[in-house]
């Protein structure tokens, strides 16, 4: 792994401020782009109470490393961080942090989006939601992959 890459899969809350500080602090780059994904309170027409994330230890880290390597081949990047939480989570908890630094803002924006699109379609994570109905009864369901995520990824191949 590149000395300035950070890859982490954790069961504890994400420290977004700390991740940003570590990413930007000593890079010397003028641009830093971040994406933070959080647990939202609705999905596919249902109220969501929380979710749990499962992953494939070992393959997950390899997959994320491959994504970073490919991003570095496309854009001039300084520091790169991908941090993903697994296990049980509540509404508004941060799930994923992706951050990149670069001499140029266009590269930073593009690389951040590219890595997120790759992660959504390749990295072995799976979400299981807890949803409630109008009577307040709760149940659990695995989230299905969305065609729109694959379409976003396809744009990078076309480009």
């Amino acid at each position: 792994m590149n000395a300035v890459d950070r890859i982490a899969v954790c069961e504890t809350p994400l420290d977004v401020a700390g991740e940003y500080a570590a990413l930007q602090g000593s890079s010397g780059d003028g641009a830093c782009a971040l994406f933070v994904g959080s647990v939202r309170d609705f999905n596919a027409g249902r109220d969501v109470c929380g979710l749990a994330l499962e992953h494939y230890p070992g393959m997950t880290e390899k997959s994320l490393q491959g994504i970073i390597v490919d991003a570095r081949s496309r854009w001039p990047l300084g520091r790169v961080a991908i941090v993903h939480r697994v296990g049980p989570m509540q509404i508004n908890d941060e799930i994923v942090f992706i951050g990149v630094t670069s001499p140029h803002r266009q590269a930073a924006f593009a690389a951040c989006q590219y890595m997120m699109d790759r992660l959504k379609t390749e990295a072995p994570f799976w979400k299981r939601e807890t949803v409630s109905d109008q009577s307040g009864n709760t149940s659990q369901r695995w989230i299905e992959a969305r065609a729109s995520d694959a379409e976003e990824m396809d744009k990078w191949s076309a480009g």
Binding site: G37, L53, E54, H55, Y56, G58, M59, K62, H84, I95, V96, M116, L119, K120, T121, E122, A123, P124, F125, W126, K127, R128, W142, I143, E144, A145
Partner: protein, 81 residues
Amino acid sequence: MVKVLFFARLRQQLGRGEMTLADFSGSLGDLRETLCEQHPDWRAHLQREDIRMAVNQALADTGERVQAGDEVAFFPPVTGG
């Protein structure tokens, strides 16, 4: 011995997350067929078109060679992020 892993929805459908196959050598497609023959009720789940497969933690297709010491995984489309 080949280690076989199942994740997420598939793990729940099959009722287990891990198993081993002794003395297996062949293609990944052969391995899947072996599992379906041993567990006929798994066939509908393991042979779904959207099920992904990995050998030694890299995505693979049915033609991939599998041999003793390998780790094979089956899982549904990913939904992280």
